[in-house]
Symmetry: C2
Subunit: 265 residues, 2 copies
DNA sequence: CAGTGGTCTAGACCACACT
DNA sequence: GTGTGGTCTAGACCACTGC
C-alpha cells in the first residue's frame, strides 16, 4: 500500500525540536510515545486489520527512523493494553475478539464450580432488535445527541439450559447500519468479533458500573426467577480507539450459580 | 545489615549454566526474572520496609553483578505490580497502603455523583472483634486447618451519615496476634496500613467474587435498609507475598447511592 | 551541583517458528 | 537456515530532585 511521505519524517529530530521549544509547558514527550501514537493511528486507520501481522520491529524502526529498542518499547505498551499480541518467532499481531483463547474478553461472570470452559458455549436467544431515537441518557453515554438513531438489541444468554444473562445493548446507528437480528443469530462467535469483521469497529476497553437490584416482572420472566430476586446489574460502556464510546450495555446477571470475578492489584 | 556471601554470586554465569543444562525442561529463566525474585525476597524479608527507599539501580546492578538495564527491567515489573513506586530524581520506594494518594486501594465502591474525595473520610464503627476456631470454609480460604485460631472482625462503614458497607473480616490468628477492637478503633487510616505497620503483613493483591443477595434481618438493621433489599455481596481474598492468603473479607454493599466500578481491558 | 530514574542507541546473542 | 521477538550489555544523554 502507499505510504505518505510524511511517515518518513525524521521523528528523532522532531522530538528534539519539540523539547527545545522553551515554554511554560515544554510538553516533552518521549520518542517511544510518539512512535506508539503513530502505530496507534495505523491501527485505527485499518492499515493492519485485527488478526493480521504488523511489520517487524526492524521494519518499523527503519520506517520511523529510530532504533529497534525504541519501537520495542512502544509495542511493549500496546501489548500491555491488549491492542496487539506478541508471539516469539512469529511476530506481532493486531489483537482481535475472534480468538479461541479468550472467548469472552469482557465477561467476568464465572460458574461457581469449574472454569469457563467446563460448561460449553452459551445458548443465545435474541429477544428483540430495533431502531429508535436515542433517549437522553443513552445518547449521553454514547456521545450522541438526544434523538440520534440508535440500535437497541435485547438478548438472553443461557448456560446449560439455565437462562443467566439478560442484556440490552445500544449501538450508534451510523457505524452499525445494517445490523439485524438475523445477522446476529447466524453469527458464530462473540458479538465483538462480529463488530470487527462486519462493521470495522474494534472495542479496546470498557468500564462497568455494578449494582444489586430486584428483578422486575419482565426480567423475572425472561430469566425464570421470582419477581424481586436479587440480580447483578452490570452497566458497561465499551470504547473503541481514542476513548470513543461505541456501545452501552445493561445486563442483569443471575448469581445463584455464577459469580462476577474481579482481580485487584 | 549483613549480606550473605551467596548474594554476590555471579548471577549471569549462573543463568548461562542453567540454560546449558540440557534436559526435557531446560527451565530457562531470563536474568531479569531472577533478579526480580531476589529483590522480591528482600522485600519479603523486610530488608526494606514499606515507604522506604530501596537502593538505586546502579547499586543493585553492582550487588547482583548485572547491568543497570537488567535491574531496570526487573524493577519495571515490580512497579507494574504495584509492589514498588518509582519517582524520577528521588528513587524507588517500597509501596505502602499508608499513602494519601490511594486511600482505599482495593475498594471499588464509588459514590454515584462526585468522586471518592468529595464525600470525606468514611465513618467507621466496629461492631465486634473476637477470637475463634476457624470453620471449614474460612480455613480453606486462608490456607489453614479447620479449627485453627482466627480473628473475626465485623464493622460498618458509613459515608455522610449513611451506613453503606457491612463487612466481616477473618484473619489468621498467628500473624495477627494482639489485634484488638481498641487498636483498630484508635488507628487513623486504612486497615491495610495498620496491618503493615503493626503486624508486618503487606497485602499485595486480592480477588473478589461478587453476587447480588437479599438483606437478612441482621444485615438490614445494621445497614438501615428493609429486609430483602438487594445488596452487593463482595467476598475478597487478599494475598501477601508468594500468593499466601492472609485475609478473607465478606462485605455487603448498599448500591442505592454508590456503585462498584470496574475497568476492563 | 551530584544523584536519581528515564530515554535512546547500537550491537551481540538467545529462544522460537517456519520452511 | 532465516527471520521473528526476547534478553543483555554498555554508554550517552535527558529530566527531575534536593543539597
Amino acid at each position: 500500500m502507499a505510504i505518505a511521505p510524511s511517515s518518513f519524517t525524521d521523528i528523532a529530530a522532531a522530538a528534539s525540536a519539540a523539547s527545545a521549544l522553551a515554554g511554560a509547558t515544554p510538553a516533552f514527550s518521549p520518542l517511544y510515545q510518539q512512535i506508539k501514537v503513530l502505530i496507534l493511528k495505523s491501527l485505527q486507520a485499518g492499515e493492519w486489520k485485527p488478526g493480521e501481522l504488523i511489520p517487524s520491529e526492524m521494519d518499523l524502526a527503519a520506517r520511523f527512523r529510530v532504533s529497534q529498542g525504541t519501537v520495542r518499547k512502544a509495542i511493549d505498551e500496546l501489548a500491555a493494553e491488549n491492542l496487539v499480541m506478541r508471539h516469539q518467532g512469529k511476530g506481532t499481531f493486531v489483537a482481535t475478539h475472534a480468538e479461541q483463547q479468550v472467548q469472552y474478553r469482557f465477561l467476568r461472570l464465572m460458574p461457581d464450580n469449574g472454569d469457563i470452559n467446563s460448561e460449553g458455549p452459551a445458548e443465545r436467544q435474541i429477544i428483540d432488535c430495533k431502531r429508535l431515537r436515542a433517549p437522553a441518557d443513552i445518547a449521553r453515554s454514547l456521545a450522541l445527541r438526544t434523538g440520534d438513531a440508535v440500535l437497541q438489541l435485547r438478548r438472553v444468554l443461557a448456560f446449560q439450559g439455565t437462562p443467566t444473562i439478560l442484556e440490552d445493548v445500544w449501538l450508534p446507528g451510523g457505524p452499525f447500519k445494517g445490523l439485524t437480528a438475523e445477522r446476529l443469530a447466524d453469527y458464530r462467535g462473540p458479538m465483538y468479533a462480529l463488530f470487527e469483521t462486519e462493521f470495522g469497529v474494534r472495542m479496546v476497553r470498557a468500564e462497568e458500573n455494578i449494582r444489586a437490584v430486584a428483578a422486575d416482572a419482565a426480567s423475572a420472566e425472561l430469566l425464570k426467577v421470582p419477581v424481586g430476586e436479587p440480580l447483578l446489574s452490570v452497566e458497561r460502556t465499551a470504547y473503541t480507539y481514542n476513548d470513543l464510546p461505541m456501545e452501552l450495555r445493561r445486563g442483569l446477571y443471575r448469581t445463584d450459580t455464577h459469580h462476577y470475578k474481579n482481580e485487584l492489584s
